[in-house]
Symmetry: C2
Subunit: 211 residues, 2 copies
C-alpha cells in the first residue's frame, strides 16, 4: 500500500531555506533550480514536494508565519496583558528584525512589498498574515486600555498603526543604510508614544536613552 515516505526533515530544510532566500530576494526571485542546487537535491525531487511554484511559495509563507509566531508573538504573550505586553511585542519585534532571524530582515515586510500590488493566492496569504498581525497588536493595545493602563480615549487601531509603522520603518532603514541607529530611534518612538497614552507614564518598562 504505502511506498517510501517523504522525508519531513528535508521538507522543513527546504522551506526554511526558501524563507531565508525570499526575505532577501523575494518569493519570485526564489527559483526552484537554485534552491535545489543550494540544498544538494535534484530540481524535480524538490519540485515533487510541492507540485508547483505557487504551492512552494504558499508553503514558504506558512513556515515563515510559524517562525514569526515562535520568535515574536509567543515571547510577548508570555507577559501578562497590559502596557508591558504591548512594549514586549514591539521590543521583541525589533529584536527579531535586528537579530536577522531571516537574513533579509523581516520576511513579511519583504514579501508584502513584493506582492501588495498584484493579485493571486500568495498575495492573499500574505495579506491574511498581515491582517492577523495587525489584529494582534490592536487587541494587545485594547487590553491595556481596558486594564486602565492606557487613557480611555486611546484608539487601539490608531495606536497599533503608529507602533507598527515605527517597527517596519526601523527594519527598512536598517537594511537599506546599514544603520543600527534605526532600531534605537524606533524604540525611542515606541516608548515616547506609549508614555503619551499611558495613564501612568512611569510604569513603562525598558531603559531610557534620554537619561
Amino acid at each position: 500500500m504505502a511506498g517510501r515516505p517523504r522525508d519531513e526533515r528535508t521538507r522543513n530544510r527546504i522551506l526554511r531555506r526558501a524563507a531565508d532566500i525570499a526575505s532577501a530576494e523575494g518569493l519570485e526571485g526564489l527559483s526552484i533550480g537554485r534552491l535545489a542546487a543550494d540544498l544538494g537535491v535534484s530540481k524535480s525531487g524538490l519540485f515533487g514536494y510541492f507540485g508547483s511554484k505557487e504551492e512552494l511559495q504558499l508553503a514558504t509563507v506558512r513556515v515563515a508565519a510559524e517562525v514569526y509566531l515562535q520568535e515574536v508573538v509567543r515571547p510577548a504573550l508570555a507577559a501578562p496583558p497590559g502596557l508591558g505586553r504591548v512594549w514586549r511585542l514591539c521590543d521583541g519585534w525589533l529584536d527579531y528584525s535586528e537579530r536577522r532571524v531571516f537574513p533579509g530582515g523581516c520576511f513579511f515586510f519583504a514579501v508584502t512589498a513584493e506582492f501588495d500590488a498584484r493579485p493571486g493566492r500568495v498575495r492573499d496569504a500574505v495579506a491574511a498574515a498581515g491582517l492577523e498581525w495587525n489584529r494582534l497588536v490592536t487587541r494587545t493595545v485594547d487590553d491595556a486600555r481596558r486594564l486602565g493602563e492606557l487613557t480611555e480615549d486611546t484608539e487601539p487601531g490608531q495606536l497599533a498603526f503608529e507602533l507598527t509603522a515605527f517597527l517596519e520603518t526601523a527594519n527598512a532603514v536598517s537594511l537599506l543604510h546599514d544603520d543600527p541607529a534605526a532600531y534605537r530611534r524606533a524604540r525611542t518612538a515606541v516608548r515616547t508614544r506609549l508614555r503619551a497614552a499611558a495613564t501612568d507614564p512611569a510604569a513603562l518598562p525598558g531603559p531610557d536613552p534620554a537619561a
Copy 2:
C-alpha cells in the same frame, strides 16, 4: 558624422512606463520583452536605448526621482519654511501615494524593499535617493525648530524618522488591504505628533478629524 538621433520622447515614454511597472512588479520583474511589447517597439530597439538591463533600471530610478521631485518635493518647497512646510511635505506625500501617481503606490517604497538586501549599483542608487529624501525631511523639521515653531528639544532626525514611518506605512497598508483609512490614520498621526512638538499647537494647519 552623426546619424539619426535617438528619439527623446520615446525614451521618456519607455522610462515612465518602466517606472509604472516597477512600482507594481519591481525592477527585476520588469522585463525588456514585456516592456517593448507594451509600448509597441521592438525588444532590440528598446534595448539599444540603454545597453543593459541594469542601465535601464538605473535610468528608471532617475526618472522616478524626477517625478517624485515634481509631485512631492517642489509643491512642499513652495510653502515658506516652518511647521507649515513640514505639514505640506507629509500631506503632499500621502496625496502622491493616494493618487497613485505610480500605479503600485510609491515607486521608492517598492524598489527599496526589493533591493535593500542585495548589493549592486541599483541598490546604491535607491539608497542614495532614500538618504536624500530623509535629509530633506530632517532639514525641513530643523528649519521649523530654528524658527521657534517646534520646541527646542525636538530632535530633527528622530521626528523625521517618525513622520516618514507614518507615510510609508500608510502606503503599504493601503496597497495590501485596499484600506483608505490608512491615509486618514497617517494624517492623524502626523498632526498629533507635530502638535506634541509644536510651540503653538493651534498653529498647525489642516482639518481636524477629531472635530
